[in-house]
Symmetry: C2
Subunit: 568 residues, 2 copies
């Protein structure tokens, strides 16, 4: 491809709207353009890079036995109401009404399409297992789209759906996908971690997120300093601290004026916040629930919600306290009767002589101990993770990392097949509900994640297998016939070798060409200039390392091919 003809409008300045490297660089290198908030046009260079990722995904999916199909983007809303996701997605789901007043949605994922189809067309246990995937644009009306391709409203996704006879089969299909994902991210040169995760709006049981490490990532994960534990922050479980081994003090009511907050209480009594008992009150479907965590920790409401699902959780409003006989700021478990369900984080376990609310204005108890002085109905993992918590495996320090989720796989079980009444005939003739898995990869998001991990102050640094073109032949002096001839020859020879190459033949200053070559991130730059041609040499530069070498002009093509083959 000739740069003079290539539609790659590079920008000298950072666009004002970009906040992170991938967004900024993809705009500057002329690879994407915004059409409207969260919606982008892919320009030739950006599209080529995205296609390479797409092809890696396709190859690995095909190699794992999955079959490609293509499902529509506009879908009838009915099945979405049946599965409950119409309400669950809420405003995030794009909706439209067709000319015959039928409501449709734009697919954010496609369980509601693939499940009835498989039930109609693969009705026998003999047809299973099957894993169907597609690579297609998906739609989510994000409240605040941002970060370019990272959080868009239109994004390219590979979504796969496995259908099995039983749970063992589903787990095997899941394992195959897990391994395919590991290969995909390795080939895309993404430095990633795999964590157990929260199933979110997809639902189901076991699931894993594939997270690309990135400082700008919005997705937090927890990692043990010793490398033996990884989890999504929401799903992270820390090892409970050893009980303090106290528990001998008598339960004593003390006056604690104006100490309704943990901070004020700890200061007034001169104790550490970790010695006080935080007691947070919730309404759970009309009933009262209390959650106990140490005073220096927060309650992970998300985990509580999952524990009581499908019942709804609502933190107490001010009126709830008085209406149910509690004193806000001074609630404690020692006075609870049977109408309160008491949840406690594991860290509360064991005698600790807690400071707890007395359920009376300006009063607390000291020396409160579980068992003797108050009751716990359910021990659960309910404290929010905090950096520095202990690894549940080895007790080592847990650190927080930031990442971009690039893949998410789920063991769905019958979560969709049951409400959609998708059954097959089993060997004994009885109808049985498919055991499903679903497997997503964000293709356009991987593109952004690769850029986040592979860039420097001069621009993009593409891995060889993702780069839109592998080589740029930089024609430094357009007015010198011999230079032009040599550059054209090298361009032609590389093309004949099957190398994807751009010749920068534009009528612009050589400096502009050097800057653009770095910005666009061709893995290898071959500079053909007057001085070199006279000396019989060509200057080669490896973008990733900055390493510069000279090759004999006569063997330029071969030198470039050798250089390329050594790159990753």
């Amino acid at each position: 491809m000739r740069f003079s003809e290539l539609f790659a409008p590079t920008l000298r300045e950072d666009p004002a709207e970009s906040e992170i490297s991938s967004h900024k660089l993809l705009l500057r290198a002329g690879m994407i353009r915004q059409v409207v908030s969260g919606v982008y046009t892919m320009l030739p260079l950006g599209l080529r890079a995205m296609r390479r990722i797409e092809n890696i995904v396709r190859e690995e999916m095909d190699a794992s036995g999955a079959q490609e199909i293509r499902m529509p983007i506009i879908l009838p809303s009915g099945p979405w109401k049946t599965t409950g996701r119409y309400d669950l997605y809420g405003e995030t789901l794009f909706k439209l009404t067709d000319r015959h007043d039928r409501e449709m949605v734009l697919g954010p994922t496609q369980e509601e399409v693939v499940t009835p189809m498989v039930a109609g067309d693969l009705p026998s246990y003999r047809d299973l297992p099957v894993n169907l995937y597609q690579i297609e644009w998906k739609y989510r009306d994000e409240f605040r789209p941002r970060y370019g391709l990272l959080r868009g409203r239109e994004f390219l996704m590979k979504d796969a759906y496995s259908f099995d006879r039983d749970e063992a089969g589903m787990r095997e299909s899941y394992r195959i996908m897990y391994e395919a994902y590991e290969r995909i991210f390795a080939r895309c040169r993404i430095d990633n971690v795999v964590v157990e995760a929260d199933p979110g709006q997809i639902g189901g049981g076991v699931n894993h997120e594939f997270m690309a490490r990135a400082d700008v990532g919005e997705d937090l994960f927890v990692e043990c300093e010793n490398g033996d534990y990884l989890a999504n922050k929401e799903a992270a479980r820390a090892r409970a601290p050893e009980p303090a081994g106290l528990g001998n003090a008598a339960l004593t009511k003390v006056r604690t004026p104006d100490a309704a907050s943990i901070e004020d209480l700890a200061a007034f009594l001169g104790v550490d916040a970790s010695r006080t008992l935080k007691c947070v009150m919730f309404d759970v479907a009309g009933r009262t629930a209390a959650v106990l965590v140490p005073g220096d920790r927060e309650v992970n409401v998300n985990k509580l919600e999952k524990l009581v699902f499908p019942e709804k959780v609502r933190p107490f409003d001010d009126p709830d306290f008085s209406a149910r006989g509690f004193v806000k700021g001074y609630v404690g478990p020692t006075t609870f009767d049977e109408t309160v369900t008491v949840f406690a984080d594991h860290s509360i376990q064991g005698g600790n002589d807690w400071v707890a609310g007395a359920n009376e204005d300006d009063h607390h108890f000291t020396g409160a101990n579980e068992g003797r002085d108050f009751r716990v109905d359910r021990w659960e993992d309910l404290a929010e993770f905090r950096e520095g918590d202990a690894c549940p495996v080895c007790g080592g320090r847990l650190n927080l990392g930031r990442s971009i989720v690039v893949g998410h796989i789920y063991q769905l079980g019958t979560k969709y097949s049951a409400p959609l009444e998708a059954t097959f005939q089993d060997e004994d003739g009885s109808p049985k509900t498919y055991e499903m898995g679903c497997y997503g990869i964000g293709i356009s998001r991987i593109l952004a994640a690769i850029v986040e991990q592979h860039n420097d102050e001069s621009g993009l640094v593409w891995p060889k297998d993702i780069a839109p073109y592998q080589v740029v032949v930089l024609l430094a002096n357009r007015d010198d016939e011999q230079v032009v001839d040599e550059a054209e020859r090298i361009y032609r020879e590389l093309t004949d070798l099957g190398v994807e190459v751009v010749i920068d033949d534009r009528e612009v200053a050589a400096g502009v060409k050097f800057n653009d070559a770095d910005l666009i991130g061709f893995p290898v730059q071959a500079v053909v200039g007057k001085r070199g041609v006279k000396a019989g040499t060509v200057d080669l530069k490896v973008r990733a390392t900055g390493e510069k070498t000279q090759a004999p002009l006569i063997a330029a093509t071969e030198s470039i091919a050798v250089l390329l083959s050594g790159l990753s």
Copy 2:
């Protein structure tokens, strides 16, 4: 690919909803499934065939110097209002409102996206020409979607947009695309005609339709028996008949009671309808227009609309006649004053002693002749085409043909760039509006058109380059170990040769396999059965011709490869 694992659910019966071959066969062969009216899922075999078409289109577009980009499907509605297409498409345009109450549309084509982008990024004459294309799903809310992939609401289209400095450049870009289209349809084995056409909702000037001949096609074209004229029916121009050479009769008012229709008038006077003058009245933006055609012809209102565009044309309602002083059923041009604009079809020219309305109840004139008795303001081509009309080139008979429009190219000029204020800086520094062309190909529609042209009573008959797989190895006896071994060997060897092959290893009767092989339309079938293996042979069948041969078992792979290489 093993058929036992392939998701290709063939059907024994014709699906009730299918009316035409392509729809019926794509459903029966397990290649597509309907999700909702006019919206389909592509199954693995259908998707593979569609991808082959897509790749042919991509190769020819790239070879012609066009560059691939990818534009969004959800688009802000603003630019659509600016160009007027928001209203022009009307209910055919899918609309939706996002969570921030901004209206968006689903793209039916993408002039409104690409034009502002090019204006922003290619602001200089030095950047031109450029031709940008994409292959993406498009959306039109058809009132009555039908015929499977032929008239869907979601369809895959290649759309290209050229930008030039001037009209000469635009015509050159257009020529390049025209020739690329010829290559594309030839490679897709589509028997097609190219005709001048009506620009429709895209607008602009010169345009051509590429029409695949098909008896079920809804698009009519006109073809001279001598092969020297072709046109879309709407755009067809017939040679005007020779003037009758009359014109000597005196203008005479005659009583014609109850003869307000041409039919009654001709019967009453005992003359042929072609001797009477049909005078159809229109309101054109508040003014009065009359259109004259021979009594046995119809007015082509579409052509009239184009003549007076952008003014609006409305046929007279009953009240218009009396309000403007005309007598319905008896209107004729001899009494018109200057307030009536008189359009006449070329066939009216020359003395013909017409029978014309006298603008008086129950009265006509005979012997009315243009020039002497009435005035014509504009001679135009305004009669509807009729089969048997004379070819404008040679005078031969014009016949009507039916087709499926698979491609449409347009010289747009500044139709979009002007309202969108898309300008570049020309060599002299002045701003100039881009001269544009646009070029569409219906990829999913080509798939259906190929099936319409390539099928028989047993099923699909794919051209080799479009077939989802080129060869099926039909394992006729699964219980014979030697047969299985030989079939597997041939399957493996073909795969190693790079042939795309399916081995039918399903646990079903051989008859089912034979039927499915014909239905799916593999170009070559290789049957490996007990008798053949004993005799050291394999049975080969060419699907297109039905020709059967035997090859030595030991050289089966080579024989299949040779057979394939001879197919088109």
